[in-house]
C-alpha cells in the first residue's frame, strides 16, 4: 500500500536510513579536513596527468604545491564546457583507455557531445553517491525500483541503476516508454519506487487515471526524479495524485552525472552535497569572486577523487545558494538550494545582480497573484528600469483604483526587499502573460 511521507516536522528521521553516517553526519571540521587532503592529492594528480590543466596552471604560475588550504582552490583555473569540447573525445582523460570501464556522453544539443569516462574507482564513487540520495528518500534493500529513464549514453539510467543495487534494492530495468506497460509492471511486480523524469511521472499518473488504476492503493511509495528540473508545483501535484513522495537530485555529466547532491525529506527545496567527493564554491558569475555563504551565485564544482577525467573548478552556470547549517534529517553535509535558473538568466540592474528565480520566489508567496510573471528591463535617461508584470487572480480584484495601486506598491516593496532594486510593478489581467510551451520566456531585456 502506498504510504507517502508525512510533513517534514512529523517525520521520525531516526527511523530513516543514512547510507554513510560516518561521512554524511560528521563534523564540519572533519569534512573540511577530508576535502583538503583530497584536493591536494587531486590537483597533483591532475597536473601530472592532463596536459590541458598543466598548460592552464603554468600560464597562471600555479603549481600543485601552492594548494595548502581549501581557499587556495581559488588560485586554480576555472573549467568550462568548452574545454571538454575542444578536447573531444578523449583529450581530458587522465588514465590509459584500458583503465576506463564505462563511458557516457551528454546529448550534445549545442555542439559535439561531452564524452566522459569512468574508472572502476569512479564507478564506485558514483554508485555510492546515488546510494546516499536513494536512502535520503527512504529506499532500502526491501525496495523494488522501476527504471523509467532510458538506459544508454545518458548518465541517468545506469547511474541510478548501479546506486540502487549498491544498497541491495531490486532494479526493474523497464527503460523509457510504453506507459501502459509501466503501469502493468507496477501492479504485477509490486514496484515501490519509480525513477523517472517528473514530466514522464505525470504522464504515467494521467494514463493510469484514465485506465482506472487506483494510485492510492498501489504499492508505489516514492518517485526518484531527475533528468530535468522539477518545479515544486508539479512535484506537489504528482505527490497528491499518485499518493507518493518524490525527491530529486542534482548532477551533471561533466563532473560525474546524477548524485552530486540529493534531496532529503527535511528541506524539500534543498539537496545535500556529497562534499567528501565534491568541493563546492559559489561565485559571482560576473566576476568569478566568491559570494558570502547563503548568497545566490554560480555553483562551481571540483570533483575530489575523479580519476578518469579530473575536472577542476567546473563552472556549472547553475545558480544556487548553499548553507552549512545542520539539517533535521541528521546529515551535516552542506545543502544547496535546488537549481531553478542559470547564470545566462542573470540581469544586472543598476549594478545589482538580479535573478528571475528571486522574482519567482517572491511572486510565489503572494496569494493574490498567479505564478506567472514577466520582467521587462529598459533604460530611461541612462538609468536601468525594471518592470515586473504580474497577474492578479480573479478573486483578488478589488474594484478600487486606490486598493489596486496600494497592492501594486506592496508587491514592489516585497520585491525590493529581496532584489535590492525597486521595480515598477504592472498588474496584468489573469491570463494576460503569455504561456509558452516548455521554457517560459520570463525576461525581455530591451537594453541589448
Amino acid at each position: 500500500m502506498g504510504t507517502p511521507m508525512p510533513a517534514p516536522d512529523q517525520i521520525d528521521f531516526s527511523a530513516l536510513p543514512i547510507y554513510l553516517p560516518e561521512v554524511e553526519c560528521t563534523s564540519r571540521e572533519r569534512i573540511r579536513a577530508i576535502q583538503l587532503a583530497k584536493l591536494i592529492e587531486q590537483v597533483g594528480y591532475t597536473y601530472a596527468r592532463v596536459p590541458w590543466y598543466r598548460d592552464q596552471m603554468d600560464a597562471l604560475g600555479v603549481t600543485p604545491a601552492d594548494i595548502r588550504t581549501l581557499d587556495d582552490v581559488r588560485k586554480l583555473p576555472f573549467t568550462d564546457k568548452s574545454a571538454l569540447r575542444e578536447t573531444f573525445p578523449f583529450g581530458m582523460f587522465a588514465v590509459p583507455m584500458d583503465e576506463i570501464v564505462e563511458m557516457h556522453a551528454s546529448s550534445g544539443t549545442t555542439g559535439k557531445p561531452i564524452v566522459v569516462g569512468y574508472t572502476a574507482a569512479d564507478m564506485d564513487v558514483w554508485s555510492e553517491c546515488i546510494a546516499r540520495l536513494a536512502q535520503m528518500a527512504g529506499v532500502t534493500a526491501a525496495d523494488r525500483v522501476q527504471m523509467a529513464f532510458g538506459y544508454g549514453m545518458f548518465t541517468g539510467g545506469f547511474g541510478l541503476h548501479y546506486g540502487i543495487q549498491r544498497i541491495g534494492g531490486m532494479m526493474i530495468p523497464a527503460g523509457a516508454g510504453n506507459t501502459e506497460r509501466h503501469i502493468q509492471m507496477i501492479e504485477d511486480y509490486g514496484t515501490t519506487t519509480l525513477i523517472a523524469t517528473p514530466s514522464y511521472a505525470m504522464h504515467i499518473c494521467e494514463v493510469g487515471e484514465k485506465l482506472g488504476f487506483d494510485w492510492a492503493s498501489s504499492t508505489l511509495e516514492r518517485g526518484l526524479f531527475g533528468g530535468e528540473p522539477c518545479p515544486p508545483r508539479l512535484k506537489a501535484e504528482i505527490e497528491a495524485r499518485m499518493h507518493i513522495t518524490c525527491t530529486d537530485n542534482y548532477g551533471l555529466t561533466e563532473v560525474m552525472g546524477p548524485g552530486v547532491s540529493g534531496e532529503c525529506l527535511a528541506h524539500r527545496d534543498q539537496q545535500h552535497i556529497a562534499e567528501d567527493h565534491f568541493l563546492w564554491e559559489v561565485v559571482d558569475p560576473a566576476t568569478g569572486e566568491p559570494v558570502a555563504e547563503g548568497e545566490m551565485g554560480e555553483l562551481v564544482l571540483t570533483p575530489l577523487d575523479k580519476r578518469g577525467i579530473p575536472v577542476l573548478r567546473y563552472r556549472t552556470h547553475d545558480l544556487t545558494r548553499v548553507t552549512t547549517e545542520p539539517c533535521a534529517c541528521g546529515r551535516t553535509l552542506a545543502r544547496m538550494q535546488k537549481v531553478r535558473s542559470r547564470c545566462d538568466d542573470m540581469l544586472i540592474i543598476r549594478g545589482t545582480n538580479v535573478f528571475p528565480s528571486q522574482v519567482e520566489d517572491v511572486i510565489g508567496r503572494i496569494d493574490e497573484l498567479t505564478p506567472h510573471y514577466r520582467i521587462v528591463v529598459d533604460n530611461e535617461g541612462g538609468l536601468d528600469r525594471m518592470t515586473v508584470e504580474v497577474e492578479i487572480k480573479p478573486e483578488a480584484f478589488s474594484d478600487s483604483f486606490e486598493e489596486m495601486s496600494a497592492f501594486a506598491r506592496e508587491v514592489a516593496g516585497k520585491l525590493r526587499n529581496v532584489l535590492l532594486v525597486t521595480p515598477v510593478v504592472r498588474l496584468v489581467e489573469p491570463g494576460g502573460i503569455e504561456r509558452t510551451l516548455g521554457k517560459a520566456k520570463h525576461v525581455d531585456d530591451r537594453r541589448r
Binding site: I392, K393, P394, A396, F397, S398, D399, S400, F401, M404, S405, R426, L427, V428, E429, P430, G431, G432
Partner: protein, 144 residues
C-alpha cells in the same frame, strides 16, 4: 434599493476592452451603461447590464478578474438642473459619491459607501430611484 454593477479589470491596451464587449454581444447581454477609468497601465471598466448573473458567469468562464457591487440608480427628470439636484441632495446629507456615471437615457449610477443613507437623501429630494427589475423597463430600447 440598488442595482448590480459589474467591474472588470482590463489592461490599458488596444483591444482589451473589446474582448469583453464582444463576449457580451455574443451572449446577447445588453449593456445599459458603462464607465472606463484607467491609471495608465490598467483600467477598471464598470458595466450595468440587463443580466448581471449571466454576464458574471461568462466573465468567470473566461477567467477574467471581475466582481459585482451594488450601486444606486437614480432616474432624473429630463430637464436642466436635474443632475445638480441629485448631487446637492447627497452633498447636503454629507454623502460622498465615490464615483458616478450616466447610463443610457437619463439614468445615473452612483457609487457610495452607504447605500441606505444615500437612498434616503435622494428620496427626500424626490429623486426617482430605480431597482434592477424596473431598470429593464425604464431602459427598454436603450442598449449601448
Amino acid at each position: 434599493m440598488s442595482i448590480t454593477q459589474i467591474s472588470v479589470f482590463v489592461e490599458s491596451r488596444p483591444g482589451h476592452l473589446t474582448r469583453t464587449l464582444e463576449a457580451f454581444a455574443e451572449a446577447g447581454i445588453q449593456v445599459r451603461g458603462f464607465c472606463a477609468g484607467d491609471t495608465g497601465e490598467y483600467g477598471i471598466v464598470r458595466f450595468i447590464v440587463d443580466r448581471p448573473d449571466a454576464a458574471m458567469a461568462l466573465l468567470a468562464e473566461r477567467g477574467a478578474a471581475a466582481r459585482t457591487s451594488e450601486v444606486l440608480c437614480a432616474r432624473l427628470d429630463d430637464r436642466p438642473g436635474a443632475l445638480a439636484r441629485a448631487m446637492v441632495a447627497c452633498a447636503q446629507a454629507g454623502i460622498n459619491i465615490v464615483y458616478c456615471y450616466s447610463l443610457a437615457a437619463t439614468c445615473i449610477a452612483l457609487s457610495v459607501k452607504d447605500i441606505a443613507s444615500a437612498e434616503a437623501a435622494l428620496a427626500d429630494a424626490d429623486i426617482d430611484l430605480v431597482d434592477q427589475a424596473e431598470l429593464a423597463r425604464v431602459l427598454a430600447g436603450a442598449t449601448l
